[in-house]
Symmetry: C2
Subunit: 265 residues, 2 copies
DNA sequence: CGGAACGTTGACACTAATCAATACCAGTGG
DNA sequence: CCACTGGTATTGATTAGTGTCAACGTTCCG
């Protein structure tokens, strides 16, 4: 289980994601499986485990669960029991307030862990919506805690995942607090391709799984601004955009937009 | 150790913060101490511990450390070894990028835990700056991990603290992504007094420990906008402001500003 | 084919940023 | 004690950047 490490690029996508699933006689929505022959193993298992430790960790993933496009993995207020490792598909997480505000707090892809928000109150505080048909490994949190009391490497891994999420959110705060529209969108695109590339996809081409409105919500912009900014990038020859297909022509230009904050000497 | 729970209000501040410190013959900047007679105990210790578990947890806090106003508890890039529980004082955490961007990611007060960002990379990714003279309990992370393998209640507590930070940051993302200046400042003030009140301070009066610029950085606004928005609140009779002294006259008005997002039916 | 959801583009309004001047306050040293 | 200084805060005038509203185009899917 558990997310991407920088070194572990080039995994995923090479085999059909479902090719190593041996269907067992169970609920069709929840098939028992093993981590050790999962093609995302390198993306999300702690490294350097002894054989017996590995056996134990196998037991964490109780079942898998499929979520259809538009379906919810969990919803605000729902009781928290498990973390989820995304096997295939793409999610957004978002919070909604009573007064109708809505904020996309992140987009998650294969190999990433989702559900950490639920731990504090033992209830989820946001919604996780599948943006394409998805499958996740269900990891009961009690088991994770139990096992990470026995396996220090797992414990460390869990701590790192949570800390990584905190640091990621710091980055989003920087983006929302200090960047202009172009800078936000450039940073967003670079982040997406970087993560996709770590999963074996192209460095320059990507298929957006979300609408302009969802991008806008995540970036603190209106959908029209997102659209206009895309158009601007196209005019400048930085990207090609055909609806949700994006090809990055000039990665360096995007990086300049993000980093070339005018600096007074 | 470890932060505020809603129930545990009304602690702190009643005794002089240093009154239960028995100076031992050690480095003057690092005095060995016990949690069990700390006046912040109810704010930050896991509940329902057995006596022997409590004894173990005592051992986590190795030493205390004082940080002068303007000084740094830790800096970006510095090796991560410990979490810190704030005993007295007030901190900001902020990230700075090479191109000169700066973002305050949070303000922390007594009873809160600081340093979680350092776990992933084993190096800190932000700076923690004291906004007034402060004292923290140093908790070596290796010890925390060791003990939380033995004491499930502690383990759960650590997980909750990290999850709470994630949820807090979701709230900040909502603020930065969807609120206008007045809404941001109103939400900020309400959050501050709420936390101060949980520590035994007034519900209506507060002394800002940070500059307008720091508030602005946190809220994604320029200092002039923060100042103007304060003035607007004063005109409307919602608050009184004398430099860093703020008295909240009309809490409900602030709540309305935050929540009364125009709602299409 | 028709409709709904999504995306693009234009005109205009408005919020917050910028630039600039002035005021306030705490601390320092004469 | 006062004057001075540097950091901080307030306020005004102006502008840049997004939001808003609206019309139209595109794509997908039943």
């Amino acid at each position: 289980m558990f997310e991407v490490t920088p070194e572990s690029a080039e995994t995923g996508k090479r085999r059909d994601a479902a090719s190593d699933v041996k269907p067992l006689p169970m609920n069709p929505l929840s098939i028992k499986v093993a981590c050790s022959n999962c093609n995302l193993r390198e993306l999300c298992m702690p490294m350097g485990l002894k054989a017996d430790e590995l056996d134990k960790i196998e037991e964490i993933v109780a079942v898998r669960r499929k979520v259809k496009r538009g379906g919810r993995l969990y919803s605000n207020g729902e009781r928290f029991t498990s973390l989820f490792a995304i096997r295939t598909g793409f999610f957004k997480t978002c919070i909604t307030t009573e007064d109708g505000r809505n904020q996309v707090t992140g987009f998650q892809m294969a190999g990433e862990i989702i559900g950490l928000d639920g731990i504090v109150k033992e209830h989820h505080t946001c919604d996780a919506v599948a943006l394409e048909d998805a499958e996740v490994c269900v990891m009961p949190f009690e088991r994770i805690e139990e096992l990470s009391r026995e396996v220090a490497a797992l414990q460390r891994h869990v701590h790192k995942i949570m800390s990584r999420e905190i640091v990621r959110e710091h980055g989003v705060m920087l983006l929302l607090g200090s960047m202009r529209a172009e800078e936000r969108l450039a940073a967003f695109l670079l982040n997406l391709v970087q993560r996709l590339h770590a999963r074996g996809f192209s460095q320059s081409e990507l298929l957006l799984r979300m609408t302009r409105e969802e991008i806008g919500s995540y970036l603190g912009l209106k959908l029209e601004t997102v659209s206009r900014t895309f158009s601007k990038f196209v005019e400048e020859g930085i990207v090609e955009v055909k609806q949700r297909h994006v090809r990055i022509i000039d990665t360096e230009a995007l990086k300049l937009i993000v980093n070339h904050n005018q600096q007074p000497c």
